[in-house]
């Protein structure tokens, strides 16, 4: 083990992890560039030159890739937002968020299929989500107050299983179509002729981006500046202390889980409009994890920025570099991107600093 300390030169502290990492990165880049000079068609060329060539030569594709990344980023962010809400307000890492998205969407579509008019179905679904929030608070959270995070995390797995079983029993397992038109959500695409190619922007995606941004702004303000918002953050810090100052955990939890339910429904509608509604979506929810982690568990703006970084990063990575190693790297790239950021900021980009005091 070398504990030798390096003397600072010109005010740069070489012992800092960040500085070291930055130096290593710089060295790798430098080596890469030198390498390219000596092999103009080899691997290095493919890694460091080709993709950029492509970007320049087909800018419409670049724009489209970025747009795709942006949209999936927004959708990841929406799922992550549900996580953040609950985490921020109860310290519970709610694994069931992904399933709540599916469940909400299924309920909506299921009700519609049973003949309920679309907008009434939305209201009824909200009702269901409220009942769900109350039930979760009653049955799961209340008895588990003040338990370690991991236990609550685990309990949300229980919720996940239960909801999958319930959802499939009630609505059946086959995928359903989202009732996009009935909800007057825009369909179709705007096609922009650009750089000799085209960029197609789905209207539903644009709507998703707008709705997501609005929702995120509202929630961020709510948390930071209101009495309830402050109480929510207090609960996340310590159940025990929150109880002791008279914050009603029960009420708070119903509020947050219901809010998360609303977010889930909106997310479900947006995702459902892109693909269809089935429990296969559950897997996509896992993509929200790196977003969440990258943004910092407790930060609402973090969710959106994390979403964008991951969304755009993974699309660019997959599109331009993926083919070099056989493609399909999208399935893990997001996690590596998040990991890379975390090495520099262990609490995520916007997360509360991890308090280490003794």
């Amino acid at each position: 083990m070398s504990d030798a300390t390096l003397r600072p030169i010109a005010g740069i502290n070489f012992n800092s992890f960040r500085v070291r990492a930055a130096l290593i990165l710089a060295a790798v880049l430098l080596l890469g560039i030198i390498g390219i000079r000596f092999d103009s068609s080899g691997t290095l060329h493919k890694i460091f030159v080709d993709p950029f060539d492509q970007m320049v030569s087909a800018p419409d594709l670049l724009v489209q890739t970025i747009w795709e990344g942006l949209v999936s980023g927004v959708l990841y962010a929406l799922i992550a937002l549900g996580f953040v809400l609950i985490f921020k307000a109860s310290g519970v890492f709610n694994f069931a968020q992904g399933i709540m998205v599916v469940f909400a969407a299924l309920t909506l579509v299921g009700l519609y299929e049973k003949g309920v008019p679309a907008f009434l179905a939305v209201i009824l679904t909200l009702g269901v989500m409220f009942v769900l929030a109350v039930a979760i608070e009653r049955v799961v959270l209340r008895p588990l107050v003040n338990q370690p995070d991991i236990i609550l995390f685990m309990a949300t797995f229980g919720i996940t299983y239960f909801l999958i079983g319930l959802g499939e029993t009630v609505f059946g397992g086959n995928p359903k179509q989202m009732i996009t038109d009935q909800l007057h959500l825009p369909r179709g695409a705007i096609e922009l002729k650009l750089f000799g190619g085209f960029v197609s922007l789905q209207k539903i995606d644009i709507a998703a981006a707008i709705i997501a941004s609005l929702m995120i702004a509202v929630l961020a303000v709510f948390f930071q500046y209101t009495r309830i918002g402050r109480a929510l953050r207090a609960v996340a810090d310590s159940h025990k202390a929150a109880l002791s100052v008279g914050i009603s955990l029960n009420q708070i939890w119903v509020i947050v889980w219901f809010t998360a339910g609303i977010v889930a429904l909106i997310t479900g509608i947006m995702w459902g409009a892109r693909s269809d509604v089935s429990f296969a979506l559950e897997i996509v929810a896992l993509k929200a994890l790196p977003v969440l982690i990258l943004g910092g568990f407790t930060s609402i703006p973090g969710a959106i920025i994390g979403g964008l970084i991951i969304g755009i990063g993974e699309k660019l990575g997959e599109f331009y570099w993926g083919p070099l190693i056989g493609g399909g790297i999208e399935s893990w790239l997001a996690y590596f991107i998040a990991l890379g950021f975390l090495l520099f900021r262990p609490q995520g980009l916007f997360g509360d600093k991890i308090i280490e005091r003794i």
Binding site: V145, N146, R227, R230, A231, R233, A234, A236, D237, S238, H239, K240, A241, A242, L243, S244, V245, G246, I247, S248, L249, N250, T298, D352, K353, I355, R357
Partner: protein, 281 residues
């Protein structure tokens, strides 16, 4: 320290009690019996101290009152708790706070990620008397604890132990309670702050009529400010009496006040550190 509480006429037995515990039993984890029939009462406007060694069950008693036990897998299996004329042992903690009984927990428990000011404001969560009043009380707290004012925007998690303790006490005061359960308020505080905190206790008691139940190790302080005291040992109350009487009691003097045979002894001179006399066991 000229006017001590005990010099004032002690509230007569006729004054109504604000809090009473009748023969309560507490079990943790379904198997660990910790309180074995504790009864005590606090008169309205009184300051009552619970004294006792480590592990005697002081904290448990306070938590039983404030209903925080459930969060630790403990439960009151026997007896009743009456606060302001109402049975409260089945109530949720926040209802109790609403009714005016709040606890300052042992070991601070500030909200680490919230700033000091936000911490104080969460204390006012149950209040409904408007922002102006809350603002006023906030200023009052700052006046009582100037140190907190300096650190008002720091995250509580990063403040020093003593600052956190002040924050916890201040936070409880923000709820405008009728009764405060104080668990070891002096722990980790510098001497003059301890003095100040007890002064504040007295002020609140005298000016606003707040009742106090204080669990305290600093017997000296506690008995100086309290009107009445209970001594607990291994889950039972073994002795109680007017604070003044306790102060005079020879056993209490020796084991809790450290004034054997009339004068204070040096810590260096304590030779035997074997367990000495116990009321029970």
């Amino acid at each position: 320290m000229s006017t001590l509480t005990l010099d004032q006429p002690v509230a007569s037995a006729a004054t109504e009690t604000i809090l009473s515990l009748n023969n309560i039993e507490v079990v943790y984890d379904h198997v660990i019996l910790v309180l074995k029939g504790v009864s005590l009462s606090v008169p309205r406007g009184g300051i009552v101290a619970i004294l006792g060694a480590n592990g005697a069950g002081k904290t448990t008693t306070l938590k039983a009152i404030s209903n925080l036990l459930k969060a630790e897998r403990g439960e009151v299996t026997k007896g009743s708790i009456v606060f302001a004329g109402e049975r409260v042992d089945r109530m949720s903690p926040n209802e109790l706070v609403r009714r005016g009984c709040i606890q300052v927990m042992e070991g601070r428990h500030c909200f680490g990620h919230l700033s000091i000011e936000e911490n104080l404001l969460t204390g006012a969560f149950t209040r409904r008397d408007g922002n102006a009043a809350i603002k006023r009380d906030l200023e009052k707290i700052y006046e009582l604890f100037p140190r907190l004012k300096q650190r008002r925007n720091s995250q509580a998690g990063y403040t020093s132990g003593g600052e956190q303790q002040m924050c916890a006490v201040g936070r409880a005061m923000m709820s405008k309670p009728k009764m405060i359960l104080l668990d070891e308020p002096s722990m980790g505080l510098a001497p003059q702050i301890v003095e100040e905190i007890f002064e504040i206790v007295r002020r609140l008691n005298a000016e606003d009529g707040v009742s106090f139940l204080v669990a305290e190790q600093n017997t000296n302080m506690a008995l100086r400010y309290a009107t009445y005291g209970y001594i607990m040992e291994t889950g039972r109350v073994v002795m109680d009496g007017e604070a003044k009487a306790l102060r005079e009691n020879e056993d209490v003097k020796e084991f809790y006040l450290g004034v054997a045979e009339g004068n204070k002894k040096s810590f260096r001179e304590v030779k035997s550190y074997k367990r000495r006399k116990r009321w029970l066991s």
